[in-house]
Symmetry: C2
Subunit: 255 residues, 2 copies
């Protein structure tokens, strides 16, 4: 009886009954099955026996179940991964920077190709705002607004949505402390200059220059982040405590 294949239905009446329903394509062609309580009553068996049969079908990949939702036909759909809280727990700042280095230079290049004069005025205004902020919190807000404005100007709605997802993770409170330290001191002025260089390239419609300027900017941001993460704090605190475990470098194109 130690048969490795769980298919024989001989030992289970409910399983055969369920398979018949599934193959029959019932349920109004919807993917959702009735609730376990209803289904058990329909077949005329107990809920415990029904669940044992459903476990088999789920293991075979014919159905998938989720607490609070129901039981459905077909392969299990992806979990909703856009929750910023969950996601910012699973990823880490270096992953984020690698993806930003992949996305934002392309956005800057597209922005250079499509920016109107009004767009450029708006970017300059945001750059001024960013530079004029005195507190770290204000800098973060306006810096984010500037980078997003560039993404808007690029005119690719899907890339903009991807940027927004990354940006929301970036602004998560967990990493605020880390980024404030990476942004502190003389680095801030360099960032301001780099912002202006990106916008200047966009204003002159030099796509490649804009792409390169953005890449240099983000590489400096990443380098600052790396230094903060790997070097100990002057007062002795351990910076690693704020960083999830997965810190390996994952280049996207370095075949």
């Amino acid at each position: 009886m130690a048969h490795p294949d769980p298919l024989p239905d001989s030992s289970n009446f409910a399983l055969g009954r369920l398979r018949a329903l599934l193959e029959g394509g019932s349920f109004d062609k919807e993917q959702r099955l009735p609730s376990e309580r209803v289904l058990a009553a329909q077949i005329g068996i107990g809920r415990r026996a029904l669940r044992r049969a459903l476990e088999v079908l789920e293991a075979e990949g014919r159905i998938w179940r989720h607490q609070g939702k129901g039981t459905f036909l077909g392969p299990r759909p992806p979990e909703h991964p856009s929750d910023v809280e969950d996601l910012s727990r699973r990823t880490n700042p270096l992953e984020v920077m690698d993806v930003r280095l992949e996305i934002e230079p392309a956005l800057a290049r597209l922005a250079a190709l499509r920016a109107s004069n009004g767009d450029i005025e708006r970017l300059l205004h945001l750059a001024d705002k960013t530079a004029s902020m005195s507190d770290a919190d204000g800098r973060e807000l306006w810096d984010s607004a500037l980078h997003r404005a560039i993404a808007e100007v690029a005119g690719n709605s899907l890339l903009l949505a991807i940027f927004d997802m990354i940006d929301r993770i970036r602004q998560d409170a967990t990493w605020r402390l880390l980024r404030e330290r990476a942004r502190s001191g003389a680095r801030q002025q360099v960032y301001v200059d780099q912002h202006r260089r990106v916008i200047a390239a966009i204003a002159q419609r030099e796509a490649h220059a804009a792409e390169q300027a953005m890449r240099e900017h983000l590489e400096l941001v990443r380098d600052g982040l790396l230094k903060v993460m790997t070097s100990p704090l002057p007062d002795g605190k351990d910076p690693q405590q704020a960083i999830p475990e997965n810190t390996e470098d994952q280049r996207l194109h370095g075949t």
Copy 2:
């Protein structure tokens, strides 16, 4: 009095009063202002006058407002763009394919570097399932599950989240018809072969081959999409009606 600068408060008592509050950094250092009704009562003016003053402040970028939420200091945050319905209305299949061509080859390469034997078994099982489906709906489901499994194996949580966003848009009902046509006929068998080639490269840990195989697969999918979109239907229907206006080719790296 056609002064271009909207700053003079002389004509408006409420505006000066509001500016004083904003500069004073009140409101418990929170970004949220009291509701219009409360704020109007505090200042001692009517709601209509208050709103006129708030319009000026909003145009200057000092505050932003949203119905149902409230009035806040600082730059306007990005609208939540992860709603699949809104997003699939704004983007188009070609934008999606361009981004997929940017993301998924990288995922295949990473998957080749990190796949365990169990992962590879799972990918093969999904490929078999995809190939065995007889109806278009089933093919779509299992094809999506296969591509996502590769993204899972890649092990970069942020890229996985980005893939999921794209995939949810891809599965939107609006484009179902279009993709079914692009997938029809002999093309289906080629897709099956390409899937197996990608998985074979992953199984042999050949990162570059996996990346290239995935790129070729997606390029063929995009070409099929292009043909369907640009050529008229045999029965005379206009395929353009299902496609938003923004159909220009937006390469991400073709400087």
